[in-house]
């Protein structure tokens, strides 16, 4: 019957979408918009340059990117502004406070992971709870071959003498980027093949198991052959060689003068890794964007919506699912190699189930299937993780060492128990955020067009109350 709720006519919703211009978009419309955004960026940059460690300013700088995203202007202008922010402003402020580069690097890393997972979950609809395994494959690949681990295959972890000769030259990093992609894609196929017949929750638990298997292997392959050095982790791992004029001499000296602090080799590498991660992220975004609208992308959508019908339409189920796993994995494989080199250290703890879940959360929070959404989700979660809560705790601690009083209550800050530090309740905040998001905005912060249609067909001020029995109909489907 045509009374089915889920099949509201498309034209109506599209119209609404077009008319539905956001507040920011409307404010930024017209020629004043770009001027305003440029002014905003300039002010934030200036302030950040004077006060390089202010959390709010850091946040406002990243929010600037969001503003640019919402600008209703030509793509080239938006790209230009975003490019200037990412390539010039962040590194420039990073001169003052290298932590900004670290945030940028981690955001780029996790955004890439989230985009990869988005292909598997968002595009192809295959719930993967062990995604971080592919990241681990890439990271360990370079960790094993780019460190001195190969000399220690027959010694117990942590007891071997320190060597100084690396079996492979540092330039091997570049070929290993490709190997990392290949290995991760291979691992994706390896996981994908046995689970092709599984659906939904069964798939979820098997992928979860796979993720754990990779982690446990990394933790335990220190005997009989000491491949991963077990829980000790592998260190040091080589970083790709940079030309000498970058690391020493005029350039860093000049930068040191500009920034007023010593810019050494480590800082130059921080810049290098920031740019490398951003380049890989941009490549991933472009690639994923192309994929979404390709023939393959449509096949994914088809199997996500109804795999039986998709097969009937001639979509090769096996191949389509496997490519989803392989391509999704490949992105994170390369990022794994970069991450290992950046950290010069890998250990199994990085690749826990919690990490997999947090990547999944980035995807859902930002908007399943939506590329800008996923990137934003990754940025929010990462900043929350490594920056915001920690910084708030520090400020609190700083207050506690002063003699000020807590307003309203009139108790000295010093007596505030440390048990209340926000950093300790990261998961609490995180969990609450997830629940609230799912209830009020399940399609994510920047939803993909499709999902929005699916989830908000009843979104109307006059619609019956949310918890009405009405819902029952949607859950059991039409007739």
């Amino acid at each position: 019957m045509s009374e089915q709720p889920g099949k509201s006519s498309g034209s109506k919703s599209t119209k609404r979408d077009l008319s539905d211009e956001g507040l920011i978009t409307r404010l930024l419309a017209g020629p004043l918009g770009p001027i305003f955004v440029i002014g905003y960026l300039a002010v934030v940059t200036f302030l950040l340059y004077r006060e390089p460690r202010a959390l709010l300013l850091r946040f406002l700088l990243f929010a600037g990117l969001l503003l640019i995203y919402y600008m209703p202007h030509k793509a080239w202008l938006k790209l230009l502004l975003a490019g200037v922010t990412v390539v010039a402003i962040i590194p420039a402020v990073g001169l003052k406070n290298p932590f900004l580069l670290e945030i940028g690097f981690q955001v780029a890393t996790f955004a890439t992971l989230a985009l990869g997972l988005n292909i598997v979950v968002g595009f192809a609809g295959l719930l993967d709870l062990g995604y971080v395994a592919f990241f681990a494959v890439g990271a360990y690949l370079w960790a094993i071959f780019g460190s001195q681990q190969l000399w220690q295959l027959h010694s117990s972890p942590g007891t071997a003498t320190v060597y100084n000769v690396f079996p492979l030259g540092a330039w091997w990093f570049w070929p290993f980027l490709i190997f990392g992609i290949t290995a991760a894609a291979g691992a994706g196929m390896l996981l994908g093949t046995p689970v092709l017949r599984l659906r939904g929750d069964y798939l979820a638990i098997v992928t979860l198991g796979f993720g754990e298997v990779i982690r446990v292997l990394a933790n335990n392959l220190d005997k009989p052959i000491n491949l991963t050095n077990g829980p000790q982790g592998i260190t040091p791992i080589q970083r790709p060689p940079l030309p000498d004029f970058i690391l020493h001499g005029a350039l860093p000296n000049w930068l040191s003068q500009v920034s007023g602090r010593t810019i050494g080799e480590g800082d130059m590498y921080a810049f290098f890794f920031y740019f490398l991660a951003v380049v890989w992220l941009v490549f991933t975004i472009a690639f994923a964007g192309r994929l979404e609208n390709s023939r393959l992308g449509r096949s994914w959508t088809a199997i996500r919506e109804d795999d039986v019908a998709a097969v009937a339409m001639g979509v090769p189920l096996r191949r389509t699912k496997l490519t989803a796993f392989a391509i999704g994995a490949a992105f994170s494989g390369a990022m794994g190699v970069i991450y290992a080199a950046n950290r010069t250290f890998v250990s199994p703890e990085t690749f826990s189930l919690t990490q997999s879940i947090s990547v999944l959360v980035m995807v859902i929070l930002g908007g399943l299937g939506s590329i800008p959404g996923v990137v934003l989700g990754a940025a929010i979660v990462t900043m929350l993780n490594i920056d915001v809560l920690q910084t708030l705790s520090l400020q609190l601690s700083s207050l506690r060492q002063g003699t000020g009083m807590i307003p309203l209550i009139g108790v000295p800050w010093a007596e505030l128990p440390t048990q209340l530090d926000p950093a300790r309740y990261q998961r609490l905040v995180f969990g609450l955020l997830l629940i609230i998001m799912m209830i009020f905005r399940p399609e994510g912060i920047i939803p993909s067009r499709r999902r929005k249609l699916e989830l908000h067909e009843d979104d109307d001020p006059l619609a019956p109350p949310a918890d009405s029995e009405n819902v029952l109909i949607t859950s059991t489907g039409g007739d």
């Binding site: 709010l56 117990s156 010593t262 700083s398 905040v429 609450l432």
Partner: protein, 439 residues
């Protein structure tokens, strides 16, 4: 409308976050500080306030209200601590942090004209967070020294960052050899090394207790496995029969690990790992009727151990590099002050956190004196490394050329009571002064 929701949700998120810390108004600036300092510090204290205000209306104008004053970095020196403040190991991590805080308070909180602050970071006992924090620490020029970490697995990658930035670090707890073996001029520790600690344990078990066979269990962490490996090597050298070497991440159910031990019938069980796991393992061992001696390393050194293990804890032997407070007269005094100040049970790691902080402070003080103002990090690192005959709560400390103590104390302890209150009264059965091993 859609975008409005975006905005709203973002505002909500941050409002939530800030609500979590309670947004302080400008009046929170330290009022009783010396006028000059108050003036200098006010902007810094105002920063969070401005942020809180701005969050309500995150429009661009708000940014303008943010403090434009250059950081108070001119007059404030910070010492960071990085230990697990959350998660299962936070008991030890908090002890170190509190110890450091106490040291700073007792030192007077000032070096010359500089106010010294503690910036406590939470590494959550995971390397990733540790490194990210390290980058944040490195990015704050007013931080001149780091007191941390607890876990070697976190210390090793994080200290790469300290090394890159030339920032001095004094470790109160990391016993893994790699920490100093890399030869970084910034990285020091005031405790012994696993490759000595494991050996001490094995020698004590073989020579003093006369045990001929051992079953070794470790917790599959960098620390636990490390010390267990050294124990195994030395036990093998001494001629002890190593009947098993098992690692497990299990936290609660040790049934299936204990059964093979019973079958193997060792003279003793050695555990390399942290008390939170060891206590439970021990208790379950005893419940299953396995009554052989139980031995561990400094990871057991927490009063929580007896809470978990109950009566089974009595007569457990463990080696440690942190000498119990009872062995030092000044430590007993510190214990009283600590418990009074923080209302928490004193742990011996607190004394090490205290000493590490003190070494940092004295190093900075010397560097300030030499530089006649704000010293560079390199100067501080040099001064810290130059620490000689520092008379700490936990003994005399002198660093060698790689940052190890020239002579470290290793202690063998026996648990005497199942009462957590009496943890500090554990019997010292052996104290060894062992010079750092030379490569």
């Amino acid at each position: 409308m859609r975008k409005l929701t975006v905005l709203m949700s973002l505002v909500m998120v941050f409002a939530l976050l800030l609500a979590g810390c309670g947004a302080p108004p400008p009046s929170a600036a330290p009022a009783e500080a010396a006028p000059a300092e108050a003036a200098a510090e006010a902007p810094a204290a105002e920063a969070p306030a401005a942020e809180a205000a701005a969050t309500e209306a995150p429009a661009e104008e708000a940014a303008a209200e943010a403090p434009a004053a250059d950081a108070a970095s001119g007059t404030v020196i910070k010492v960071a601590s990085q230990t697990p403040l959350s998660g299962p190991q936070s008991s030890l991590g908090t002890a170190i942090k509190n110890g450091a805080q106490l040291a700073l308070e007792q030192y007077g909180g000032k070096i010359g004209d500089f106010t010294v602050e503690l910036a406590p970071f939470d590494d959550q006992a995971t390397p990733d967070i540790g490194v990210a924090n390290a980058k944040q620490i490195v990015g704050d020029p007013s931080i001149l020294c780091v007191d941390g970490h607890l876990n070697s697995g976190v210390m090793i990658p994080s200290s790469e960052e300290y090394h890159n930035a030339g920032l001095a670090a004094v470790s109160p707890a990391n016993t893994n050899p790699t920490v100093t073996d890399r030869g970084y001029p910034e990285v020091n520790r005031i405790v012994g090394r696993d490759d000595v600690q494991g050996v001490v344990g094995a020698q004590y078990a073989f020579n003093e207790l006369g045990l001929k066979s051992v079953y070794i269990i470790h917790d599959k962490t960098s620390y636990g496995q490390g010390v267990a490996e050294f124990f195994r090597t030395e036990a093998g050298n001494l001629g002890m029969d190593v009947l098993g070497f098992e690692g497990t991440e299990e936290q609660s159910n040790f049934d299936s690990i204990i059964t093979p031990i019973i079958a193997a019938n060792p003279d003793m069980v050695y555990f390399g790992g942290i008390y939170s796991q060891g206590g439970v393992l021990l208790r379950q061992m005893r419940e299953k009727g396995l009554n052989v001696p139980f031995m561990g390393a400094d990871g057991l050194d927490s009063s929580e151990f007896v809470n978990l293990a109950g009566d089974a804890a009595v007569d457990v032997i463990f080696t440690t590099t942190s000498v119990p407070a009872s062995a030092f007269p000044r430590a007993a005094e510190l214990q009283v002050q600590y418990e009074e100040r923080f209302g928490e049970q004193f742990q011996s790691y607190a004394a090490y956190g205290y000493d590490a902080m003190y070494i940092c402070l004295e190093g900075i003080a010397r560097a300030v004196e030499t530089a006649g103002g704000m010293p560079t990090r390199a100067e501080v690192a040099t001064e810290v490394r130059a620490t000689t005959d520092f008379d700490g709560i936990t003994g005399m400390k002198t660093f060698n050329d790689i940052g190890d103590l020239t002579v470290a104390q290793y202690v063998v302890l026996r648990v005497t009571s199942a009462d957590a209150e009496k943890w500090g009264e554990n019997e010292v059965v052996q104290v060894l002064d062992i010079p750092a091993p030379t490569k």
